[in-house]
């Protein structure tokens, strides 16, 4: 357990500089975005007033006001920065393993000969990825109220329709990252965890069998997906024979099976098949 925590700390530390840079980029791009989008919104109003030769009261009567904060959330400033985080973490899921083999060092020799279970390394890397994900999500939670305030500070109240901050969390651009119930939380991040675990095991297949391993990795990943979504397929095939809650329960079961298999296979590969 102690070694697990040390390894998690070590893994997070190794990516931390890069992580801070990304966090910085997100903060800067979203804050600049909030200002730019708000100014743009005001400019648009002026343009409309000029073009239509409206007075401000006419403008209001015609119902031209929009939701500037929604517009901001749907703008590239937010979407691209969220997308960037997703892409970087996706890449890091691979890099967190491959970095041990490549470049000049061969740190994998050291990792695999630590007097600790090799599965600990797997769990430490898995935990590190999840912590980085939660870090980004927490960052967005902090940023949203600030941006909300910023937008409404630049645009006078009469020119806009307000949305509540809580509504902002349900925005598509945020990819439904903020579950509103505990079940949703388990489901969303459980699926995320399972997804990363399956990718990790697929990587270990490649690292164990190399070229042949790529084939095994693909077959294994596809099989995992099929097993996981089988309840959904069942739902369609049976034309709604099951209640949604039953399908959900089945998904939890198949998800647990897939996660369990990923860990079991990883144990086997790390113990008997891994090649440095």
């Amino acid at each position: 357990m102690k070694n697990y925590l040390k390894l998690v700390h070590f893994e997070v530390n190794r990516f931390f500089k890069m992580y801070l840079i990304v966090v910085g980029l997100v903060i800067v791009s979203q804050l600049i975005g909030a200002v730019v989008e708000s100014k743009e919104y005001l400019k648009n109003i002026k343009r409309t007033l000029l073009r239509e030769q409206y007075s401000f009261s006419e403008y209001l009567q015609e119902g031209y006001q929009a939701e500037p904060f929604s517009q901001f959330l749907n703008s590239g400033w937010v979407i691209l920065s969220v997308f960037m985080c997703v892409v970087i973490l996706m890449l890091y899921v691979f890099f967190i393993w491959y970095r041990e083999w490549f470049a000049k060092n061969t740190f994998i020799y050291r990792l695999l000969t630590l007097p600790t279970s090799r599965l600990t390394i797997y769990f430490a890397k898995l935990t590190a990825i999840m912590l980085l994900v939660f870090g980004f999500i927490a960052l967005q939670i902090i940023l949203l109220p600030i941006e909300h305030q910023l937008v409404y500070w630049i645009i006078p109240a009469d020119y806009r329709i307000d949305i509540l901050l809580t509504e902002a969390f349900n925005f598509v651009s945020l990819g439904g990252l903020y579950p509103s119930t505990f079940i949703e939380f388990i489901l969303l991040y459980g699926i995320g965890l399972m997804f990363v675990a399956v990718l990790f095991t697929a990587i270990l297949f490649e690292r164990s069998y190399r070229l042949k391993g790529i084939f095994f990795a693909i077959v294994y990943s596809v099989l995992s997906c099929v097993v996981f979504i089988s309840p959904v397929v069942l739902h369609f095939v049976s034309e709604g024979y099951f209640y949604p809650l039953e399908i959900l329960s089945l998904l939890l079961v198949t998800g647990a099976i897939v996660l369990g298999c990923a860990i079991w296979l990883a144990t086997y590969l790390l113990k008997y098949k891994i090649t440095v």
Binding site: K104, N105, T106, Y109, T113, L114, P115, K273, T275, V276
Partner: protein, 229 residues
């Protein structure tokens, strides 16, 4: 004792190890000799469970390798096993964090012996100094067995002498060492046992002292006989 029993291994269709067997005792320096590509490194990786074998058995003090074994046996490969961006002191800290057998006094002693600065980053070290750090990380563990893969390759003459000196010091005493090399000259006078390997098989396993006494031959003489004869 490390026992390697009839170990076979294939890489794809190529048979790298064709039933290798030998033993290495505690308190002795066993040298695996063979030209490049005969499977010396693969044997070491197999002992450390870093590569799977197709058949055969490897025992360390009578048992298969387990996670606890890594407190008793360590591998010094021919590349550095720590991330490049680490300082030497950070690498020490890492070792101390994970190994009960890490001996910090000995690490400091070795640091002085090799004239290294612990505030240097591994990435900035010369090739010779990187090899020394790598060796240091293995030697400062209080383990029973040390596996060293080509400790002299690509290193300048003075660093070689320094590393060779380590073998005669108390740092090696009482431990079992397996070392691979294709340049025997530096260490001929140090080794107790030789295992000559070619094309994945053991050609001859002999005790240096016995051969010298009984047959009046040096290691190089035996090698000449085996490889040319």
């Amino acid at each position: 004792m490390i026992e390697v029993k009839n170990v076979k291994k294939k890489y794809g269709r190529k048979q790298i190890l064709k039933g290798i067997s030998f033993t290495a005792n505690k308190g002795e320096i066993t040298c695996l000799i063979g030209i490049n590509g005969v499977g010396k490194t693969t044997i070491m990786k197999a002992i450390m469970a870093l590569t799977p074998i197709n058949s055969g058995e490897i025992l360390i003090d009578g048992g298969k390798i387990r996670k606890e074994s890594f407190e008793k046996i360590t591998f010094i490969p021919d590349t550095i096993t720590m991330p490049q961006q680490m300082k030497i002191s950070e690498a020490f800290q890492f070792m101390a964090d994970f190994y009960k057998s890490w001996n910090p006094q000995r690490a400091q002693e070795l640091l002085q012996f090799f004239k290294l600065d612990e505030n240097d980053r591994i990435a900035n070290l010369s090739k010779g100094n990187t090899a020394k750090v790598n060796m240091l990380l293995g030697l400062a563990l209080d383990v029973d067995y040390l596996l060293m893969d080509e400790p002299f390759s690509g290193i300048d003459i003075f660093s070689r002498e320094q590393i060779a000196e380590v073998f005669t010091s108390h740092l090696i005493e009482d431990r079992g060492v397996i070392i691979t090399t294709h340049e025997i000259n530096d260490i001929e006078h140090l080794i107790d046992k030789v295992v000559l390997i070619d094309e994945g098989a053991v050609l001859r396993e002999f005790n240096v002292e016995e051969v010298r006494e009984n047959e009046g031959k040096s290691v190089v003489d035996v090698m000449r006989e085996v490889y040319r004869g």
